[in-house]
């Protein structure tokens, strides 16, 4: 599946800027990655790392004044970052589906879920309204909504949080997109529901060969779902690699710190008041990103060149890490 020759989505040197009165803020700073068909790429990072903006930039849903200031986004080899809006609109929903964090605000409260799904199907596919409704029913069944025949005519407020997220997933799947961008799809849900939604996403990606860009702050979700993971820090990719490698043998000092700071179930057993590894300080604000490596003021392994020279991604084991340690 992961043939590096034909990536489905290819992002090169993507840069997102926000011009403000107090100067230019660079929220995403030259990041590159690719996703193969059927592959799930996890994008993790803490708030403000630029992970959601990266996803938004791929489908060009950035809120002004945010703008793509450089780089390329290619879908199936075709550049989509410079397409006129009317052509882009045919790609959104048709070839790229999106799932957002809050299922309540992703659905229109004034239309039944059936109307919303059939509208999307009719927009993108050449089918009759009756066929569209049939397809909508099938989708609702596929995402695990019980009794879809009666639920299809319900409004979003009549669904619970987990069921709503299933509807949103059905909506994203309408036109069998090649790529799904899922931005924190399980964050608003309880653990037991989260497990259901993750399994659903995984199954769908596998069965339909859909590539998924899964954006989340939750390493646990990444560990279960993703094939590869990109760790973001201050608008840059700090480390990218196979999920197992990044979690078990992280190379970048930020990834090491991040993994250490996650409490693990049962790890403190019997040892009262064990301390977690912690990274001192906080992620820099966008107007004060340090020169050189953005992580250098917090890094326990800082060297002289980290302060002035910005590291690029280099091979570190099976991962790629943007750190001078691996030069």
């Amino acid at each position: 599946m992961t043939s590096p020759a034909a990536p489905l989505l290819e992002v090169k040197d993507l840069r997102v800027e926000f011009p403000t009165r107090r100067g230019l803020l660079v929220a995403v700073d030259g990041i590159s990655f690719s996703i193969a068909p059927g592959e799930v790429l996890g994008v993790v990072g803490e708030s403000g790392a630029g992970k959601s903006l990266t996803g938004m930039a791929v489908i060009r849903l950035l809120e002004p004044p945010g703008r793509i200031a450089g780089g390329e986004v290619r879908l199936d080899g075709q550049r989509i970052d410079d397409l006129p809006l009317d052509q882009l609109r045919r790609i959104r929903g048709r070839r790229i589906g999106a799932i957002f964090q809050d299922p309540l605000t992703s659905l229109n409260p004034l239309y039944t879920v059936g109307e919303q799904i059939t509208e999307t199907i009719l927009t993108h596919l050449e089918v009759t309204p009756a066929e569209a409704r049939e397809r909508a029913l099938g989708l609702l069944r596929e995402v695990g909504i019980p009794a879809p025949e009666s639920r299809i005519d319900h409004y979003s407020h009549q669904f619970s949080g987990g069921m709503r997220q299933r509807v949103v997933i059905a909506l994203a799947l309408c036109a069998e997109p090649r790529l799904i961008i899922a931005d924190e799809p399980t964050t608003a849900l309880d653990v037991s529901i989260q497990a259901q939604i993750i399994q659903l996403l995984k199954r769908l990606a596998r069965e339909h060969g859909t590539a998924v860009m899964l954006i989340t702050h939750d390493m646990g979700v990444i560990a279960e779902t993703a094939d590869r993971v990109a760790v973001m820090y201050a608008g840059r990719i700090a480390e990218i690699g196979p999920v197992r490698e990044v979690i078990h043998s992280p190379r970048h000092p930020y990834t090491v710190g991040l993994m250490g700071s996650i409490p693990k179930l049962g790890a403190g057993m019997g040892k009262k008041h064990m301390r977690l590894a912690q990274i001192e300080g906080a992620m820099p604000r966008l107007n004060a990103i340090p020169a050189g490596c953005a992580f250098n003021p917090r890094c326990p392994k800082r060297m002289d060149r980290c302060i002035n020279e910005r590291p690029v991604l280099v091979a570190a084991g099976t991962n790629q890490s943007a750190c001078w340690l691996y030069e």
Binding site: E46, S47, S160, G162, M163, D190, V191, S192, I193, Q194, A195, Q196, I198, Q199, H217, D218, M219, G220, V221, A223, E224, V243, R244, I247, H248, G257, L258, G260, S261, I262, P263, K264, L265, G266, A267, G268, M269, G270, K272, H273, M274, R275, L276, A277, Q278, I279, A282, M283
Partner: protein, 331 residues
């Protein structure tokens, strides 16, 4: 001095969610009560961290608010250090006891007054409780408290918006500590924070507990956080406490089917290949809870008795479990 600092006995709280009076009269809508917390019996021992976990809507935050007195219980009693704090006729005594507990809230963006300088935020309990004799005294104490939570004394001159989420939560902790409490109720104190910041706050709370001999009631939905910080854990489902056990026992030998389900649903960071068993179904509507055991529609071990009769919480060796199947030895 008894070992138990806080005791809840059969505590319940209902919320009136009826339609407005006019609708009830004209449309014949009935009164509707939401039973947010139902006969919770719980002990918190001096110096320990007791955690309450459960999914949204299970009543864990309501319990926290009942304990600190933000809500009055509809039933049952709450004793703090041997004094009944829910007794309205002993108000003077209750107030004395209430000073000894404080609360930390989930959202550090909403729990600090944006128009007050941090110094005023932290100093307010000192003034209200009359713990400082002069302005110089207050300055000194505020500086000391800010230092204790890892901020600088000069930070007192800033406003809350100048701080990040983690720093704001430190300010909340400093404010909670300024009244010299023995007991802190922490309602999801790290849920709004990033993991690396969460680690800083959890470490800070552990250090403060060691240094000041604090007792914590820690409310969270995150089992990994709870397993890290808690000595004992209570699991709540739909307003009831279904299991209470020592932390290591709960994680190594969970007894209630709901606890097992929760543990199975936690993402596996070790990637041991263990499959998460997603649970069928969702938390039922608390307005019309299922008959008998509230968990029975999702429980793989439910039988006729579970469907008709609510299980009592039965204590054994300091652990409590409310489940027919466990009592009958079926699981």
């Amino acid at each position: 001095m008894s070992d138990v600092l806080l005791r809840l006995e059969g505590v319940g709280r209902d919320f009136d969610v009826s339609y407005p009076w006019l609708n009830r009269v004209l449309e014949g809508q009935p009164r509707q009560l939401l039973r947010a917390v139902d006969s919770v019996t719980l002990e918190v021992r001096r110096g320990e961290t007791m955690a309450l976990v459960g999914e949204s809507g299970c009543g864990k935050s309501t319990v926290a608010r009942l304990i600190v007195g933000l809500y009055q219980p509809s039933r049952g009693r709450i004793d703090f250090d041997g004094v009944e704090v829910t007794n309205p006729s002993a108000r003077a005594q209750t107030l004395q006891v209430r000073r000894r507990m404080q609360m930390i809230f989930q959202d550090p963006y909403a729990s600090l007054n944006p128009r007050w300088r941090v110094r005023e935020v932290v100093a307010e309990p000192l003034r209200v409780l009359g713990l400082a004799s002069s302005e110089a005294d207050i300055d000194h104490r505020v500086g000391e408290l800010l230092g204790q939570v890892g901020l600088a004394a000069q930070d007192g001159e800033k406003y809350p918006h100048e701080f990040s989420g983690g720093q704001r939560q430190r300010i909340s902790i400093a404010r909670a500590l300024s009244g010299n409490p023995e007991f802190l109720v922490c309602d999801e104190p790290t849920s709004a924070l990033d993991v690396s910041v969460q680690a800083q706050i959890l470490n800070l709370m552990t250090d403060l507990q060691d240094k000041l001999g604090l007792t914590y009631l820690f409310i969270s939905h995150n089992l990994a956080v709870v397993s890290h910080i808690a000595d004992r854990i209570g699991v709540m489902y739909l307003g009831r406490l279904v299991e209470v056990a020592a932390a290591d026992e709960l994680f190594s030998r969970p007894r209630h089917p709901y606890t097992r389900m929760l543990l199975d649903a936690v993402p596996d960071l070790e990637m041991s290949g263990k499959q998460r068993t997603p649970v069928a179904g969702e938390v039922p509507n608390p307005l019309s809870p299922p008959s008998g055991c509230a968990f029975h529609p999702r429980c793989p071990h439910a039988n006729d008795r579970c469907r008709s009769e609510a299980p009592a919480a039965i204590a054994k060796d300091g652990n409590v479990v409310a489940c027919h199947a466990v009592q009958e030895g079926r699981i």
